[in-house]
Subunit: 363 residues, 4 copies
């Protein structure tokens, strides 16, 4: 099966491995006439770029994107937009020791089960570098959504046990961008950094939570039954490596609530509360969409672990090199990108939902 | 967009409204030669049938299924299997008062936003009766999966604050089927029933958690990047009305864990632990797949709620009739069905992943 | 693979066998708010109904359609429209002799190759009765297209060697509907009827050509590269059993023409000629779309034929019962239906092609 | 809509414009473990490369392909294979005069209708250079098919009025590759070349017919109803620019035949004749698949033509530069590639058609 395509109308296909020549995405179904430049994409790629802080790896990648097709005189033409990022800094030799054994928490074993062998260099297709294609496509999705005023605020809600409970949206964006962890609370960011340092000292790693708040989503997006907006958001988010849970609105907490508490009453201008997180019956209601991705700790740790090699022999491994003790901050832009892709696709799909729309566009 | 189809190879299309003539599903892509009877489907439909207990509504539906195509001499032929369930007990008059106003927590408002108007009788397409199509398809999916030995145990893990923490799988199935709430602990089931009665007394409702444990899933199912097995499971589960969160393995708890705790070490015969919940890098590893669906309280409550009508006037409504105080027990078979659909599709997809499989089948 | 679904947005799934309980179609993606009744569908089904003339079989089927979902107060709701036609007149006993042998020109052998066995009663899924689902869906497609003024004229252009060369569109419709062969020339229809009678006398059968002229198709439908409008029309038409060739515009004749002859020059109000048949670069240009389906002779003939049985033994068979000496007249509405399905899907797809359409619909 | 993807399991996405930086294809769903090199692709690209003869344009493109992903140690890994060809020789200035007017027979007008504007440089996405992506993907499809022994012989059957009637397959391949027109008859090739020279002298152009014979296709490929193998072949072939008709087997001639002539009788080792062209009921029967593509004359001619500009003013244009008087020879490899793509997808799909195949592969 071909697993590298997402979306029905706004259709993203990504490709590339950690240590191949390049990675990229082909985005088809982008409406014609939209202004677009490499800078629109580059600014998003820069948000996921390694090397910004003491808690992310120092792999020296520029990750410069290049648009190869689908653009003419600064506007999209309606044809596929192919974007490429060349790999520069890869030393296959570094990874030779993992060619023969299965790292716990990684996809080495399951790729071998599925395909019989694998590109083990840096995790191959299962590497975090694969998210470059997602971020490229997310940049285009957000550009489309900007035409209806939709905007995104995404941040690290938690690192390990350090959780930001109350977020004041007005000032959140400034704070988010002023700390390396993308947390919307400067004090918590400092606390989280100390936690990470203690974890690193032990050669261990941490997980966390990314939250994404999407405002001004038109009411009426998403389709009943299987193509519910929240169903596609869940797929989009769980398709990101290391995500183990997805919540919308009150999420898990809704299960312990009562109907009288959890129902959002309507008033003239919309919902009085937003326990639902912007989606009712799988369709957007106009309130902000709020989703959370729960991310496991980085599986690469500098401690000895028990595992087996390809011959089934039990061995101990210690993964070489310097590893991010946490991938959560880098996942912020990836979560936002995947949410944007799912919503942009629903936006385009929604255009065909009423017969009078046909009359409005073809007259 | 057409939102009523799920799956790429094992492809399910459902149709029907709460108060239409019938509901059904067309399942295409079922391999030829599989034994199948209406009884295989009926036994699953009976698990979701209303009217079994004091906490589910008394709508007197038989929900008898009829296979209309795709079967010949007791075996599937490879052509689409169409299954129908006729609606019997519907009184449109009962619902006339909700034609003009938006029930909190329901899809009334969002359907109006999307389509301009709606079939308000019993919720139309957004009714829980829509899940009949899912259960039909799930029965077929489980039949396919039985050919590789895959089996399912699904239960109510929590009702409101009453949670079953430790589940002993050996005896779980018997207990699950011996109480109306499908809980794997008789004492907890009694406790939960009391909680529900207290909630009902107030005209309120409760939510809960369904957990599904899937054993003997072949290693190697699921595709990298967007068609990860857990991504499709998340979509499958979130596409069920009222589900607000999805977890796999340790789920949300993974975010507060450390790498050294969360990584599942390998030994000769597989994983030593199963924090991952049976999926690594989006591909099944052979350990049991464990997923949870967090379900909100039934939005129909017998208390006054503030809302607006179609003209935007603020009103108070109290929803007539008798309502389930909880839908969790009925959702058990629905969660299991959707999980089975996603995994059956991955099973079929997986057949094409290796070039030597081509040689094995076409020689 | 699931082969019974056609279309991306206007998505048709058909099901049913010749001698099963029923046949039907589920049509998803129909915009909400469109007026629809069973009569809209029935009038098209009546055009394909057997039993009208001396050259079509006397199988006494009413083929009454029933809409089971997706309709409320006479208008579509945006949810799947399920339509069923029950089979009435089938005598499985009649077909017992073909259970064990392969009829030349039929799908018996290839179904066995693919699936290992087959529903041999009346051809099962490969029977001409399968087209009921196509005609149902075509009726809905034409209803959608009527909102932009698109109209269809379809007729039998040739029966065996009898060809209608010059067709005067003004009066064609009346003539088409006044003869059993749906030919647009009364004299040729008489001539063709005589030809068919001579063929029948020998127990043999004839083929022919169906032509479909589609007017007022908006310019701009169809997508570059693989989703060209003519590519989807070709697939739609070749998916009809017994069709062996597809032409658009001048078709085969274009290959022997010169550029100076074949190019359609533009003037202010469109094309001066229409050699292209309404499509340029895969996109509709506003001129009538003209397509032709070349249909092979009915494979069921009353003459002895050499064949083999399932054990590979060479035998002679003579197919029992009365057979249509030609299926072309019945294929007229099927060709029109498939063309309508392909164009309706392109119409809906086309709504998302420009960024300013987003602004027009979501403001 | 996203129109640049073809196939369900073997899924091809192409991108790129005539005068953009590069063109390419991403091929997903290729089974893991297949040997592949750039040479496999390059040899096919060389068959479509301009500049080989007096009747093809002199655009000096190397068209060197580069594989960017999906390959490890000379074998496919099951992940997307991205292949790029950089554009080298493009002078946008040459095309400035067509920016404002519509060339007869080209897609200029319809792209403007659809998208509002267009990349006019060399035809943009509607240029023949778009077929590079098809040929890349076709090379991979043929590689997959080689594992079951399937082979292709494709040639120019006709140029304008010069038709090769009898083709002796044994020696055809040698002759085809020994003349610039890829005709399977040296005398006819010479005759056709003279015809083309006479056409060129007048500044005019010619069309022709490509025929493709595919041997050793396993019986049982293709799916009933809409995913018939011949339906997908028809779509594949009509999606090639300039193709106006598609035939399989006897094609158009079948319509004038009788059942007793057109039916292919069975004997022990297969069909006695092959009027059907290798497909019965949409499923391959094991006999060679024979298809024909009828191609219109090159629309770019060096004669004055009437047309309009974007303001609707009637003008005369004469298209500058040197144009191919015929594109048929170059289309040979493109027709073969598209046929291979459709059949490879059916081959992979076919693996899931029987329940006992599941048991064979997952034990």
């Amino acid at each position: 099966m071909s697993g590298s395509t997402f979306g029905n109308i706004f259709r993203v296909t990504t490709w590339g491995e950690s240590h191949g020549k390049a990675l990229g995405a082909v985005i088809d179904g982008v409406p014609a006439g939209m202004e677009l430049s490499e800078a629109d994409i580059q600014k998003e790629l820069d948000r996921r770029k390694p090397g910004q802080s003491s808690v992310t790896t120092a792999r020296a990648e520029d990750d410069r994107c290049e648009i190869l097709s689908g653009l003419f005189e600064g506007r999209t033409t309606g044809t596929p937009i192919s974007v490429i990022v060349y790999n520069k800094d890869h030393h296959s030799a570094d990874y030779s020791d993992i060619a023969e054994c299965y790292r716990p928490g990684h996809a080495d074993y399951t790729y071998d089960c599925k395909y019989g062998y694998r590109d083990y260099r840096g995790g191959g297709r299962s590497s975090g570098r694969e998210t470059i294609g997602r971020v490229i496509a997310g940049a285009l999705a957000k550009k489309i959504l900007s035409y209806v005023g939709t905007s995104f605020v995404t941040y690290t809600k938690a690192i390990g046990p350090v959780v930001v409970e109350d977020i004041h949206n007005e000032e959140a964006l400034d704070i988010i961008n002023s700390n390396d962890l993308y947390m919307p609370d400067a004090g918590k960011a400092e606390e989280a950094m100390k936690y990470l340092e203690s974890v690193m000292t032990l050669g261990d790693s941490a997980g966390g939570v990314v939250e994404c708040v999407i405002s001004n989503v038109p009411a009426g997006l998403g389709d009943p039954v299987f193509e519910k907006l929240d169903a596609n958001l869940a797929k989009a988010i769980l398709s990101i490596g290391a995500v183990k849970a997805f919540e919308i609105g009150d999420g898990c907490a809704a299960a312990t609530s009562k109907g009288s508490e959890n129902n959002d009453e309507f008033h003239r201008s919309g919902l009085r509360s937003n326990h639902c997180g912007g989606v009712l019956g799988g369709i957007s209601c106009g309130s902000p969409i709020i989703i959370r991705a729960h991310i496991k700790p980085t599986p690469s740790i500098s401690m000895y672990q028990n595992t087996v090699n390809k011959n089934g022999e039990e061995i101990k491994i210690k993964i070489k090199g310097r590893h991010d003790p946490v991938i959560v901050p880098r996942a912020v832009v990836v979560v936002e990108s995947m949410a944007a892709i799912a919503i942009a696709d629903a936006l385009l799909s929604g255009m065909t939902s009423r017969i009078d729309n046909i009359e409005k566009l073809y007259k």
